[in-house]
Amino acid sequence: MKDYKELGFRCGLEIHQQLEGKKLFCNCNTLNSSREANTRFERYLRASAGETGEIDVAALYEMKKGKGFVYDSHSEDTCLVEFDEEPPHNVNPEALRTALVIAKLLNCKVEDEIHFMRKIVIDGSNTSAFQRTALVGRNGYIKTSKGNVRVASLCLEEEAAKKIEDAKDFTKYRLDRLGIPLLEIATETDIVDPEHAKETASAIGMILRSVPNVKRGLGTIRQDVNISIKGGARTEIKGFQDLRSIPKVIDFEVERQQKLLREKKSIQNEVRKAEPDFTTSFLRPMPGAARMYPETDIPPIQVTKEMIEVEKPVSLAESAENIEKEFGIRKDLAQLLAKSGKLALFASIAKKNKNVKPAFIVETLISAPKEIKRKFEIEINRLADKEYEEIFSYLNEGKISKDVVFDVLIDYAKGEFDIGRYAKESGEDIEKEIKKICDENKGASQGALMGIVMQKFRGKIDGKKAMEVVKKYSG
């Protein structure tokens, strides 16, 4: 274990979270679509010098590559705003509201007046050559096991287009991601060690998922880590596959800088990419500071008292604790529910269906979909809350048995569910039938009899119960 304090370890996080709903400056849906492109155009971007005559280093680096950009999109997911062919519309009020709620959860001070800026980006990821971004709040903090980590800023901004091909003469982007509302949370360098970075990222993730309209799923949240050690340089690491890789990647970066220091080589401030083997590779030079100017197409937003005096929502961490106590489930299960966004669904089901054990509900909501996907390649996560409610009410009323929940989930996912196939027949009727089977197959082993019985009554009787009856009549 390294002594990070001794190393002069400084580390902060930048978390980017996509929001659900419409885009930030137009009325397009935020689909992260993968449908085939039906619109394509090509552009070049230029680095324009600031008044001081200086061109931003990062901007110049991109321009020198002299590459063109090809933009692909589907016309239903994008409009002229993403094409940089129409000025931005007014800011999406839903996204702004979400940003203000998150500001509250992060204990940030919200600005009196929010100004959208143009942050110059000429790698092609924004057709306009700048990203629209606004500082919403500052000076917040979150609690962690190793003390408070201060939140330097919360920004509301546009998501960039997604790079899909990097050819020799051009870079190709998909445009449907461009303009999705994005929250950027930057912490101060209060993180004390690599594990702490992971904990902080996880805690911020929990806070973000405490509000309803943040996006979930692969690529909808991204973590960037800023690191430096004494004598080294500041590097920003992007592209973490998951939170678990954060500590190891940070450790490797510290070691890389230490090695360069030992070899007396110069270390540059730069942006690096996290690789799957936990090492990092050079991405681009660190962007300079003087690269923002006002977005004059969007008037400043006055933040009124009504806008910020929203009730502070219960954070996911608190909700998980409450659920843990109320339903007596294990802490890790409550956390799993919180992370998967199914806390509310769980609480609703558990309250209504007292005959079903809470732990079984958690298992059905969390593990069953994963297991079914693994075994049968069927996506259960598409099930609506209403459908889960229905399944558990059948269970609660004894209309279906616990054993068949997997089959029921699969049938729901396929849209083939029919209660008639599963409904438990009366115990007496089944017992009669089983007796008949045993009589007809005298001499057969109990195992063979069970096979016949279960084939006939799958879903209508518990296996345990069936075995009892078989034992009774085959003896």
Binding site: G53, E111, S128
Partner: protein, 416 residues
Amino acid sequence: MHEAGDRVLVETSDETIEGTLMPSEGNVVLKLKSGYNIGISKDRIKKISLLSKHLAVSEEKARHIAREKSKKSITILHTGGTIASKVDYETGAVIARFSPEEIISMFPELKDIANVDSKLIAQMWSDDMRFEHYQKMAHAVEEELKKNVDGIIITHGTDTLGYSAAALAFMCEIPIPVILVGAQRSSDRGSSDAAMNLICAAEFVAKTDFAGIAICMHENMDDNNCVILPPTKTRKMHASRRDAFKAVNDIPIARINYKTRKIEFLREHKKRSAEAWRINPKMEDKIALIKIHTNMKREQFDVYQGYKGLVIEGTGLGHAPVGLEVNKPIMEGIIDLIKSGTLVAMTSQCIYGRTHSHVYSNAVKLANAGVIYCEDTLPETAFIKLAWLLGNYKKKEAASLMAENLRGEISDRSAE
């Protein structure tokens, strides 16, 4: 008092914020070190103390640009818009730049194409253009002709660029190219179309034998081609797209590939020559353009009493509401205008297609009353043409010339 650009410390009821003061009304706007601007309510501010005064930005040093004899000479005349502008990242202000050195520093490609000179003749939104500005442009063109330049590029706001092109086309009969260039995205941003439009125009001037007025703008949403468009038959057909300018009832003159710089003529064109130029910049001031709509009233026409010319943007083939009894006063209003000496000309608000005075009875009535049908002339071009004709010709002559093609404004075939 502190001014924009000063570095200050703002003390509020609950914090102290350091930043650069931005120009603002109402709230105090501060640029933080991060580059973000925030607005701080004045009610919360206790004190603003100065850290350091704003340093005026020193002018860029003019670098001498060597002229190469082998290259053509082009003068760029600026009339406004933001084809050459830079951002002051300190205050966020967009500052227009016009000196030849500044133009070359912003668009270094130009010096490989030609020896570039640059002049500011006006600085305005194109919506503010008046006939006197067209005359100023024509005079500036004449000045350059006297200096034997090989070609001229005029930068222009896009909203009324079509009007200016038409005006120059009627005013100037010249043996060199004069190309109007605009930008739909201002040049302070990396995605601006200004550079490509300007560079393509310069290539076209330097490498072809074209003479006359034309427009150079994007052909489509891509940064691949620019087109050279006819000055009297081009219209801004979109509020914001790069390819807003389209030839209407006509085709572009030429196409320039931005990447390969290959130039392809799409039709016949007037060639450079040693012939003398003629510039007739006179225009009649009292000219108007009115759009026909439903539920019109006679007084809408009466306001043009005393005008020398009125262009009507009629419906369909060139109609106005003169059929029903209830609309009879409108017909009378138009007849009164003509009787009192106003030259009334008819175009179509369909934009595409040609007027016709004999298919429907409403048009027959108007034509019989003396309204001149302008074939497939664009309404805006008809407006400019009428003003120019009445500035240079007697009324009778002007009336007959309105229905004749002078500068490509009337085509004898409707190809589409």
